[in-house]
């Protein structure tokens, strides 16, 4: 019966195909069912006829139950999760990766080094952010500690006047404790030697907010703030230890603060620093408040602790409503100000600090990304070298997932190594950062260490890095077509495609590096500009200090400072001695002035000027010449006509066409209550820093220190050889005059001048580090790609040389290939970098955001290093012996 033998395969395949089984399983099912139907047909056909038999069997084949069978086969066809991700298969992958990585130590070292640098830098940056902005205050339930302040863009000052604070204390219900403070300093006497310390004036409640209790005695009670109450003080642990030798009976004893005896009521525990680092003393605010109206009284920083059942938005709503009420009772004409309740750190640290640090975190993550790109390239090279192996594995039934995982495991191993090395790098970096940052005391809670959270971050970064650097090579390997690979003897096709990917990665690396280098370049140029700046005064060989008198007696004060001026000037070897309200550069006061005879309609029309009260020694100590008229001299005393010396910038602004000498100005601006000062001289404009570094040559006014009515403290400067102008000698002179007056803030003038630019320097230095690291990484990456490409083209280059191409031709050809990526990378980086620099132009100093020199230098450095990375492999290519090249596989 020849027509009895149907071929069932086609019918079954049509039925089975939609289930998309694994090819092998599909073949098995088709074969099994076909045999079954064949046999059944052979039995059935003779009984009911071929046509009917075939129809019946075909109908059976359409039965829905078969789908169930196919579904079971499909589940079998896919490797089950447990099988692919079982511990044993994972261990096998790790073993395999270790073995294969051990064979190429170059990859391991290069990859680990790159990732370790990236991870290390990122960890340093994150630990800074964590320790400063995230971790919070070192107190119990510190997230409940709130800062209350007035938000008003029109006012610089966001503090809350004492009178307002009292109203809040009486009327609020959302905070369990509420206190206010303002910072200051005080002279302590009674112990070994007089000391000038950070002293904080507080209301009762301010220390309670922290939840920390005194180790001896108590903190302040509300009646300590009573103006009539006997003066009290709370000591820090350090003061108690150093001045009172840890005397457990210190409570009840007396400490002399600024000459006033105060009863010690308590001692705080070791390490308690609130509200700023190095606080040594807490004093109660005893300002009379009976007559104060809202808006009056000293400005307080207000802190509170949220009640347990209250959240920030509730407290915020209450305080906003209260501030609205309080505003109604304010003196007419004053603007209404809205109270804001925020977590302490969030409220205290300016938003731009957050912005700067998070920007830097993003920057280091970009460095890490460059490192990942490098590792991705290294692994891609390996993937290409292993295409045959992968092809064979796939042909033998390895799933795509298995191939991908193998590559990811390799990247993961590198990242794990890098995480360990990176953590060490982070430790070093953190130690370095801490040693530099110890100078900052404003953020007392800063605690930058390898906290567990930082280590967790490192772990996350390592996992992310291994994924980012492993996934491209992995997908590339998995996408390879088995047949092409196994047929492709020279790897031409596969390396071509992978090569394109590598080159894209390198272009991206170069782009990222150029962004970083641009930022570094602009920061460096700003720093150099600042350093090279001619401030208009001398700072070499000038040593500075500050003194503050305990005595409130104006006659004694004047006697002391006059004596000090005389003794300092008489110091053997001294070339000049200065006393004044501050130092030029950083110590300028500010305010608005009025020029006699001019009319100013509104308060903001009074022009701003920076001011400094100086002794006659100013001009010799700081080497400031007088351009016109005379300097401030010893005849300018309290009894004589008040005088001023103005800067050339002041003259340009206010007396562009007239002689300023003899004109009169007033420093009190819109208040109209100051004395008129007669301009007697003109000096060159002196450097004056401002926080944002915008106008460093503002209009300036020098006044006579001896014409100040109230002399309580002074900045001292002595100019002389290093052995003359020393803190010890200054201290000796001061102590001889008054044993109770401490000398503090001693520093060379150069350091004083550098202090305001400190943040910029750190920022700039970090970006120089980031930029250099990413430049090196990009150059290494480019080198690897070029070397790889040259090694793949040995035969082609050999043929070219055999046909007469010179070494120069080959170098040019290879370099041309690399040049494309370099140019594209730099172009992309410049576009992005220009945008970044433009956004951060407030931080620039003396350089425009489109400064062509910076762009040119960065372009040259990047292009140069990239070209070198190209030329080395190209040179190697020219040494190829055509005969050898032609024989290679």
């Amino acid at each position: 019966m020849p027509n009895d033998r149907f071929d069932w395969h086609a019918d079954i395949r049509a039925r089975v195909a939609p289930a998309r089984l694994h090819p092998q399983d599909e073949a098995d099912v088709i074969e099994e069912v076909a045999q079954h139907l064949e046999a059944q047909f052979a039995d059935l056909a003779p009984k009911i006829g071929t046509g009917a038999a075939r129809a019946r069997l075909l109908a059976q084949l359409q039965g829905p139950e078969l789908d169930d069978a196919l579904a079971r086969r499909r589940r079998r066809a896919r490797p089950t999760r447990s099988r692919t991700w079982s511990v044993t298969s994972f261990a096998r992958d790790v073993r395999y990766a270790v073995r294969s990585l051990r064979r190429s130590p170059g990859t391991v070292i290069a990859g680990t080094a790159a990732l370790a640098l990236g991870i290390g830098l990122t960890a340093v940056m994150y630990s800074i952010i964590y320790g400063m902005l995230v971790k919070g205050l070192p107190f119990e339930r510190a997230d409940r500690i709130a800062l209350v302040y007035y938000a008003d863009p029109a006012h610089e000052d966001d503090q809350i006047p004492l009178a307002d604070f009292l109203r809040y204390t009486q009327q609020q219900h959302t905070l369990s404790s509420l206190g206010g403070y303002f910072l200051g300093s005080a002279n302590i006497a009674g112990g070994e030697q007089p000391e000038r310390v950070t002293a904080v004036r507080v209301t009762s409640g301010a220390l309670e907010v922290t939840g920390v209790r005194a180790i001896l005695g108590r903190t302040f009670a509300p009646n300590d703030n009573d103006p009539a109450a006997p003066p009290t003080a709370v000591l820090s642990y350090a003061t108690w230890r150093d001045q009172f030798h840890s005397d457990s009976g210190a409570v009840g004893k007396t400490v002399r603060v600024d000459g006033t005896p105060r009863t010690i009521v308590g001692v705080m525990p070791d390490g308690f620093e609130f509200p700023r680092a190095l606080t040594r003393l807490w004093l109660p605010i005893q300002t009379p408040t009976d007559t104060l109206r809202p808006g009056q009284g000293p400005g307080l920083t207000v802190v509170g602790r949220l009640r347990d059942d209250i959240e920030y938005d509730r407290a915020q709503a209450e305080f906003a409503a209260l501030s609205h009420q309080i505003a109604k009772d304010r003196a007419p004409g004053t603007a209404e100000r809205r109270a804001v309740v925020e977590p302490f750190i969030r409220g205290l640290v300016p938003g731009r600090v957050y912005a700067v640090f998070y920007t830097m975190l993003v920057a280091v993550m970009l460095v890490l990304l460059v490192a990942c790109a490098n590792v991705a390239n290294l692994l891609l090279d390996r993937a290409v070298a292993r295409t045959r192996e992968i092809g064979i594995r796939t042909a033998l039934g390895a799933t795509r997932l298995a191939v991908v995982r193998q590559s990811l495991v390799e990247a993961g191993l590198l990242a794990a190594l890098a995480a360990v090395v990176g953590t060490l790098i982070a430790r070093l970096g953190i130690a370095l950062f801490n040693s530099v940052m110890l100078k900052s005391e404003s953020y007392f809670w800063i605690d930058i260490r390898l906290h567990p959270q930082v280590l967790a971050f490192v772990l996350v970064m390592a996992v992310a890095a291994s994924f980012v650097s492993g996934v491209l090579p992995a997908l590339q390997s998995a996408r390879l077509d088995v047949n092409t690979i196994l047929k492709d003897e020279s790897h031409a096709a596969s390396s071509l495609r992978v090569g394109r990917l590598s080159r894209t990665i390198v272009a991206v690396e170069i782009a990222l590096s150029s962004v970083m280098l641009l930022v570094a370049g602009f920061a460096t140029k700003s720093m150099t500009n600042l350093r090279r700046l001619e401030p208009g005064f001398a700072s070499a060989d000038v040593y500075t200090a500050r003194v503050s008198l305990a005595s409130r007696d104006p006659v004694r004060q004047r006697q002391f400072f006059e004596g000090l001026d005389r003794e300092l000037t008489a110091m053997p070897g001294a070339k000049g001695a200065y006393l004044g309200s501050g130092f030029p550069g950083t110590g300028w006061g500010g305010g608005r002035v009025a020029v006699e005879g001019r009319v100013y309609a509104r308060p903001q029309d009074y022009p701003p000027a920076r001011t400094l009260a100086v002794t006659p020694g100013f001009f010799s100590t700081f080497g400031v010449p007088v351009r016109q008229g005379r300097a401030i001299n010893s005849a300018d005393v309290l009894e004589s006509t008040p005088v001023a010396v103005v800067s050339e910038s002041f003259v340009i602004q206010h007396f562009p066409k007239t002689d300023p000498i003899g004109h009169r100005i007033r420093l009190s601006g819109p208040r109209n209550d100051g004395e008129w000062l007669t301009i007697v001289g003109v000096v060159p404009t002196l450097f004056a820093t401002t926080f944002a570094m915008h106008d460093v040559w503002p209009p300036e006014v020098l006044t006579a220190f001896w014409q100040e009515r109230n002399l309580t403290s002074a900045s001292i400067a002595v100019r002389g050889p290093p052995d003359v102008a020393t803190p010890a000698r200054i201290r000796k002179v001061v102590t001889a005059l008054d044993a109770e007056t401490p000398v503090y803030a001693t520093a060379p003038m150069t350091e004083v001048l550098a202090a305001p630019t400190f943040a910029l320097q750190i920022f700039g230095t970090m970006f120089v580090i980031f930029g250099t690291v990413s430049l090196v990484l990009a150059a290494v990456g480019l080198y690897a790609v070029m070397a790889f490409s040259v090694s793949r083209r040995v035969r082609e280059l050999g043929i070219r040389m055999a046909l007469g191409a010179s070494g120069g031709d080959v170098v040019r050809m290879v370099c041309r290939q690399g040049a494309k990526q370099i140019v594209i990378g730099i172009a992309l980086g410049f576009v992005a970098g220009a945008a970044v620099v433009r956004a951060a132009r407030a931080a620039l100093f003396g350089v425009a955001p489109n400064d062509p020199v910076v762009f040119a230098v960065v372009g040259a450095v990047l292009g140069g290093s990239a070209l070198v990375a190209c030329i080395i492999p190209a040179m190697r290519a020219t040494r190829v012996d055509p005969l050898v090249a032609l024989r290679t596989d």
């Binding site: 069912v33 045999q35 039965g63 078969l66 079971r72 079998r76």
Partner: protein, 110 residues
Amino acid sequence: MLTDELKKGSAEFLILSLLEAESRHGYELQKLIESRSDGVLTFNVASLYPLLYRMEERGWIVGRWVEKSGERRKRFYRVTPAGRTALEAQRESWKEFVTAINRVSGVRYA
């Protein structure tokens, strides 16, 4: 519903019993069940293979392609140790079930 479950359970029971002595291929199983039940129980490709694949998935039976000289390779199923355990268990419960039915209904086997 109960009968469906019964039939499905009994089909697995039958297949396991048939495979206990020797391994067999799919069509052989179908024919044996049909002939030994005198045509009361019938199977076709759509009903047999879901059963076989499910039992294979459970690990009761294993299908292997066997090549005998001069013949096309065929897929033979054999019982695994797990399958034997299942078979014993089913035999026990079947016996209990039949005994119980008999006691209740008073039907006696000849």
